[in-house]
Symmetry: C2
Subunit: 376 residues, 2 copies
């Protein structure tokens, strides 16, 4: 996996680059739509390709492991073939959902025992198991198995957890080398910086991760409820330490404003359920601010949903129509808003990339973050 | 509204024709997807145009009247503009849903008093009101206000009801002429034959309707639970009487086999929720028979959903993948199967048309009805 930096911004740490994978090029900064259980909710694969223009999508290891199960994905020839997606896929390690969704989870040095949130069946994830599963899924980018600490988190817990995450990383790296990829293309492992909201821990963790010389480095344990100042402060400390010549992935982030601010701090990759989850609740993002389409103020607004975005649905359909679809709980409502929001997120990072290249990023970013946080 | 018959089949009453409307040509025989509340469930308008190739869709007057309400549709400039659909629209009269969905309905000579199934609010539909609402909706084809008798239905009730439906038709026709269309294009009124499963009543009703010389004639009160033999027997009696030079619309029908048999009896237009409702339950139609995609037998079947249909999703995605989507209750499952089933229904009537034109309809139909009823 090769990372080329095309341009570094002079007014910030932002960079425009390209990650070369065996499934194609990812132009950075990039936002990765979350394809939880083998589908980006409400979106056809063709729409991801032709409308949203997603260079890469995410899969959730925990969900895919439980359903359809690794056996079926393996028999299909990997997740790309199973879901018919031939661009890159990144999978998380499964850890995050084990902590947030499953019952009776017990975290020990060896790994995590947990019960399925679906049928209560018992399962065990370890660093080695997480690598095996992700290799079988066939992710282009495999995430190290970590503990994502909650917020708030006591200092001593965060410190002990961080050290365990580092030891787990070493086990992941050893195990990663033991077996070949199953499907004939390169799969790389991305380690994750932890340390909660504590500067010294973040610094220590970033130094440890940097020392591993991985192809991609990730920052985890943020966007879990902490104030935005903490998110930015931790990101800044970490991007100062992580190698400049490798892509940096800020996990689970975030709002459009979060994206732009984090790009300015040197982040290259993002993922978040926000655009699709909020879309299903009728919240849409525009260049002028956020619209709650369920609001009665849109009931007789026959202007296009968002003519600026430049996608067919958002130009074609009016706010009044999309509001109606939500009022009557019709599937087409979330279909339209999900398509809209993901297109918006992708267009935003593409615009950031263009601005970095032409040297107008910071000025544009500072104007945009104000508008993006406006409620319409 | 003009109807051209291009070809009459020699081995049956089937015909291939074209209905000319101000919103474009409808090639018959045609299946009309049901766009209940201003949306064909789970389907983008662009998919209706480019993938399914629907010449016309339906709207339900009862649903649209309650939500978003006629006022908003009127302010939008009619349903075509409100939902962004510029091909023809047919609306039912609202009667069917009043009888099947609403509470406390009271049918009198003047009209029907009913309570909304949504909030219990009281409303009154009469022949005149049904015409006014449909004119405001802006349907190209307006259905007469009738009573759709249930099955089974006592002879005397069916007879009294049929006569009332005839009187209501007269009131619809008088009222239809009283006002101009609101949106500058032609709107035509289609009367409905009733008479339950009684031959003499069907004959009498068909003669009454035929005498009105309407642009389109419809057959209602079938596909409400009666045996298929009754459906076909009543259809045959009625098509024998309804004018040959006008399109005949069999309301609420039906399965793929029902469509082909009814085309052979001289029917030109169909609508039914079957393809979309069954799609949402994982039932898909193919040339080889019906597939319940939820069945465990498809769990590891990595062959395309249906390569013969020739639409991208059905060629691209495997049975195993679509089954998985239903297992995990993901939106994309019903999106794919709805697109599939509607494409299948439209392709089937298009093929019937081609067969009528080239003179191979009956032979093809007889082979198809066997295959179409196979369970795979």
């Amino acid at each position: 996996m090769k990372f080329d930096i095309l341009k570094k911004d002079e007014g910030s740490r932002a960079r425009a680059g390209s990650i070369h994978t065996d499934h194609g090029i990812i132009e950075t900064p990039i936002f990765m739509p979350v394809g939880t259980i083998g589908t980006v909710k409400g979106i056809h694969q063709k729409e991801l390709e032709d409308v949203i223009n997603a260079d890469i999508i995410l899969g959730n290891t925990y969900h895919l492991y439980l359903r359809p199960g690794i056996d079926i994905i393996n028999k299909a020839g990997g997740l790309h073939k199973f879901i018919s997606w031939d661009r890159p896929i990144l999978t998380d390690s499964g850890g995050y959902q084990v902590y947030s969704l499953s019952n009776n989870r017990k975290i020990k040095e060896e790994g995590v025992m947990f019960s399925s949130h679906i049928d209560g069946s018992k399962h065990f994830f370890s660093p080695e198991k997480a690598i095996d599963i992700q290799k079988n899924i066939g992710a282009d980018i495999i995430m190290a198995f970590d503990e994502c600490t909650p917020y708030p988190c006591e200092y001593n817990y965060a410190k002990r957890s961080m050290h365990m995450t580092h030891r787990w990383l070493d086990r992941c790296m050893v195990h990663m080398k033991k077996t070949e990829g199953l499907y004939g293309y390169e799969q790389c492992l991305a380690p994750i910086v932890q340390g909660s909201v504590y500067k010294d821990l973040r610094k220590q963790s970033a130094e440890y991760i940097a020392s591993k010389d991985a192809d991609i480095n990730a920052i985890g344990g943020l966007s879990v409820g902490e104030p935005h100042e903490d998110l930015y402060a931790m990101t800044e400390i970490v991007t100062d330490i992580l190698p400049e010549d490798k892509p940096r992935y800020l996990m689970g982030v975030g709002t459009p404003a979060n994206l732009l601010e984090s790009i300015a701090l040197g982040i290259d990759m993002f993922d978040c359920v926000l655009p699709t989850r909020n879309a299903r609740h009728g919240l849409i993002y525009t260049n002028e601010g956020v619209i709650n389409i369920k609001n009665s103020k849109w009931a007789e607004d026959f202007s296009p949903l968002d003519p600026e975005l430049g996608i067919e649905t958002s130009t074609r359909f009016t706010k009044a129509y999309v509001r109606h679809l939500f009022q009557v709980k019709e599937l087409l409502g979330p279909q339209i808003t999900s398509l809209h929001n993901l297109s918006f997120f992708l267009k935003l990072v593409r615009e950031a990339r263009t601005r970095i290249i032409d040297g107008t990023f910071v000025e544009w970013k500072n104007q945009m973050v104000v508008k993006l946080q406006t409620r319409l």
